[in-house]
């Protein structure tokens, strides 16, 4: 496949790894004092595990998997609200596949479906709008999830719904923004990240300017990266080059897709339809100011939260759940007390284990080979 296969060339990948080894040696870092690189975006977490990139990197590099998984950071209360909406009479609840197995305090959407709720997996918000048009006697509620990559699609769909006078299509907005996430990481006292692999597709929308503060104020290198293995490896090379030169800049590795200014049409649609909430609850990270998006008043008639009385309760994470610490990168998945025992992909306690790009799911499904020896020696 064009523009994909070329960036998955294993031979080129091996050469990049060799370069990384040299850079790490030149920096004088070792496994005892590793260079901590965080990939913010869950899509990168998925790539890293799918292609086994972590295994290839020298021990002196520690990859910290960040909270850029919009499903993973959904608080339990919001999942309960989604289930509530799905169980309303006459509602068709349309959702991306990623969210369907996340446990709420009573049940997941999948369980609600088995109990009779009309829940449908969709590929695109436009498919949900089409459902609304072909089912005029039903209310279609779309579960709007995701960072800025996905927000424009929801926004454009709402603009289309408004223009076409559709009145039975609603969005339950759980959209979030990436910058507050990164700032929360940078401000976390128990974390010390040396450099960031930045989210390529979010940046495709918002441009590189919003990250300037990371280099200027926090003095951390930040490289916006594509998602294929060669992209991720090249981004790590670029981060290490900055560290070798003692620099901290925002760089763009994903130049074939990401422009400095981002995408004006996408930004315009987002601004027209959404506004920032004063604060929004994140699983594990607590309440973060100006991090969540809600529909503007103009679209109140298409806002699920205004049409239906969602409980909107703040529900605590299950006691045993340490998703928050995993999301911040302060513990590794296997350091969570319930990892692999009470919490597995079949019986997940938290979202990190359910989502296809959650760090726990990634380690359990793909990476447990490398952690098995660790677990054995630690007696876990």
């Amino acid at each position: 496949m064009k523009y994909v296969d070329e960036f998955r060339n294993p031979a080129a990948g091996k050469k990049l790894v060799a370069r990384i080894r040299e850079q790490v040696a030149a920096l004088g870092r070792t496994a005892a004092d590793p260079i901590k690189i965080m990939e913010v975006c869950g899509g990168h977490t998925h790539s890293i595990f799918k292609f086994g990139l972590e295994e290839m990197l020298p021990d002196a590099i520690e990859l910290v998997h960040g909270p850029g998984c919009p499903v993973c950071v959904l608080p339990v209360g919001r999942v309960d609200d989604a289930v509530f909406l799905a169980e309303q009479p006459g509602v068709i609840f349309a959702t991306y596949g990623d969210a369907i197995r996340v446990p709420g305090s009573q049940k997941s959407l999948l369980q609600a479906k088995a109990e009779g709720a009309d829940i449908r997996t969709v590929y695109s918000p436009t498919d949900a709008l089409a459902l609304a048009k072909s089912n005029p006697d039903r209310d279609v509620v779309f579960f709007g999830l995701g960072f800025e990559t996905t927000v424009p699609s929801t926004a454009l769909t709402l603009l289309q719904a408004e223009a076409e006078g559709v009145t039975n299509f609603f969005v339950f907005s759980n959209h979030i923004t990436i910058v507050p996430t990164i700032r929360a990481i940078l401000d976390a006292p128990d974390l010390s990240i040396d450099g960031f692999v930045g989210p390529g597709h979010v940046t495709m929308v918002i441009g590189t300017e919003p990250y300037r503060f990371i280099a200027d104020t926090y003095q951390k290198p930040f490289v916006v990266s594509g998602f294929e293995p060669l992209d991720v490896l090249q981004s790590i090379v670029m981060l290490l080059e900055q560290m070798q030169a003692g620099e901290a800049r925002v760089e763009n590795q994903y130049r074939r897709l990401v422009a400095h200014d981002g995408n004006a049409t996408a930004q315009g649609a987002m601004a027209e339809v959404f506004e920032l909430r004063e604060h929004f609850e994140w699983r594990g990270l607590g309440s973060i100011e100006e991090s969540g998006l809600r529909l503007r008043d103009r679209f109140a008639h298409l806002d699920a939260e205004r049409r239906f009385l969602v409980p909107a309760l703040a529900v605590e994470d299950p006691k045993a759940c340490q998703c928050g610490d995993v999301l911040k990168g302060t513990i590794k998945p296997w350091e969570c007390k319930v990892f692999g025992t009470a919490c597995t992909p079949e019986t997940p306690i938290g979202a990190c284990m359910v989502s296809s790009e959650g760090a726990c799911a990634a380690y359990y499904n793909y990476g447990r080979l490398s952690t098995l020896p660790v677990l054995a020696t630690s007696g876990a």
Binding site: M1, V4, P10, G13, K14, V17, G42, G43, H46, F49, K50, F51, G52, L53, E54, E55, M56, C69, P70, V71, Y96, G97, D98, I100, R101, L110, R120, T121, V122, Y123, S124, D127, A130, L145, G146, T150, P229, P345, E346, S355, S356, E357, N365, Y366, G367, R368, L369, L372
Partner: protein
């Protein structure tokens, strides 16, 4: 006075009563499952006519033990139910699936499939034309596979109680003496061969459901494997064989690895996938190794027999894309990993549930 049965009116009624059944309705109704005349009409007009088996409406079918015994020393018996939606899709339909699925379960056990049964559960309201097409397709599939559908059953349930149509097929086959295949028999120096490209059926069905609004040309790969199996067994020693169905290659390899307590390493570069299936998977975030097939087998053979096995498979029209995808090793036992080509191995497990499209 003449006896009543020789009265012309009586004889006219008798003639009419014995006429060959003909369904007059254009949808299935409750009466078609009621055991009475309407059901007789359905069975004669559709089941018997389309499957080509005049005696299928007897309560039992009989087979000569000595005849079966001449072909092997064990009887193999299997059953499977089919609930696919939509009923008809590119490359096949539920009827064809039902025949090939059970034929394949027998074939990968080393059995020569001989007889099938066909149990139908029909939803009130199912179009008679659709039912006829599917039964005709079953008849064709049975002839292609060289099996006979000799007995069956028909039930009708009220509207809403069955997703248009469910089919159960059970199958009897005979295993030639000396043929011994088992998922528990795989050895640490075996290799795993897959007979063709992966993921076709799973992708075809997801596209055919229409919910994803995708336009592509991916036909289901549903096909009877018994002839291919015979070709392979004649050419090389085989320890285990499975057909790749729900759960895909990943499920089959993990089941075998656990049953035989061997480890396996899959070579990511060798996995055969049709370009459209690859595009489909990339678009939705799915992995071909988790998607279903309905006409592919996985065979575990000793590594020094791999060339002979591949030559035999590739020489058969259904095995043209056969390739070694994995090799076994003693440790870690029961664990399947995949060599991504980038220098690392990572675990390749089965999915918990169904493959779902994702955005992340």
């Amino acid at each position: 006075m003449d006896s009543p049965e020789r009265h012309p009116l009586f004889q006219r009624i008798e003639k009419h009563r014995r006429r060959s059944g003909r369904v007059r309705e254009n949808v299935v109704v409750q009466a078609h499952g009621g055991g009475g005349k309407a059901m007789r009409d359905l069975i004669e007009d559709l089941v018997v006519r389309e499957l080509g088996e005049p005696e299928i409406d007897e309560d039992q079918a009989f087979a000569s033990i000595s005849e079966l015994g001449a072909r092997g020393d064990r009887v193999a018996f299997t059953t499977d139910s089919f609930v696919v939606t939509p009923l008809e899709f590119p490359g096949g339909d539920i009827g064809r699936l039902a025949v090939n699925g059970t034929v394949n379960d027998l074939a990968v056990g080393g059995a020569e499939p001989v007889f099938l049964s066909c149990g139908l559960v029909l939803e009130e309201g199912l179009e008679i034309d659709t039912l006829r097409r599917i039964l005709r397709s079953m008849g064709t599939a049975a002839r292609e596979a060289g099996v006979r559908i000799v007995t069956g059953d028909t039930k009708v349930v009220p509207r809403g109680k069955a997703d248009r149509m469910f089919i159960n097929t059970s199958g009897i086959g005979v295993v030639p003496s000396g043929v011994k295949l088992s998922s528990r028999s795989v050895q640490p120096d075996d290799v795993l061969i897959v007979s063709g490209r992966l993921g076709d059926h799973g992708a075809a069905i997801l596209v055919a459901r229409g919910e994803l609004d995708l336009d592509t040309d991916i036909p289901s790969d549903t096909a009877p494997l018994n002839d291919l199996v015979r070709t392979l067994l004649d050419a090389a020693p085989v320890h285990a064989m499975r057909d790749v169905t729900r759960g895909g290659l990943a499920a089959v390899l993990n089941e075998i690895a656990l049953a035989s307590e061997v480890g396996m390493v899959v070579d990511a570069q060798t996995i055969p996938v049709r370009p459209e299936v690859s595009g489909f998977c990339e678009l939705l975030g799915l992995d071909p190794v988790h998607l279903a097939n309905e006409g592919r087998l996985v065979a575990a053979v000793p590594s020094d027999s791999a060339d002979a096995a591949l030559a035999a498979l590739r020489g058969h029209p259904m095995g043209a894309d056969a390739v070694v995808v994995a090799r076994c090793r003693p440790e870690p036992a029961g664990v399947v990993t995949i060599d991504t080509g980038f220098g690392g191995e990572r675990i390749l497990d089965m999915l918990v549930g169904e493959p779902l499209p994702r955005i992340c």
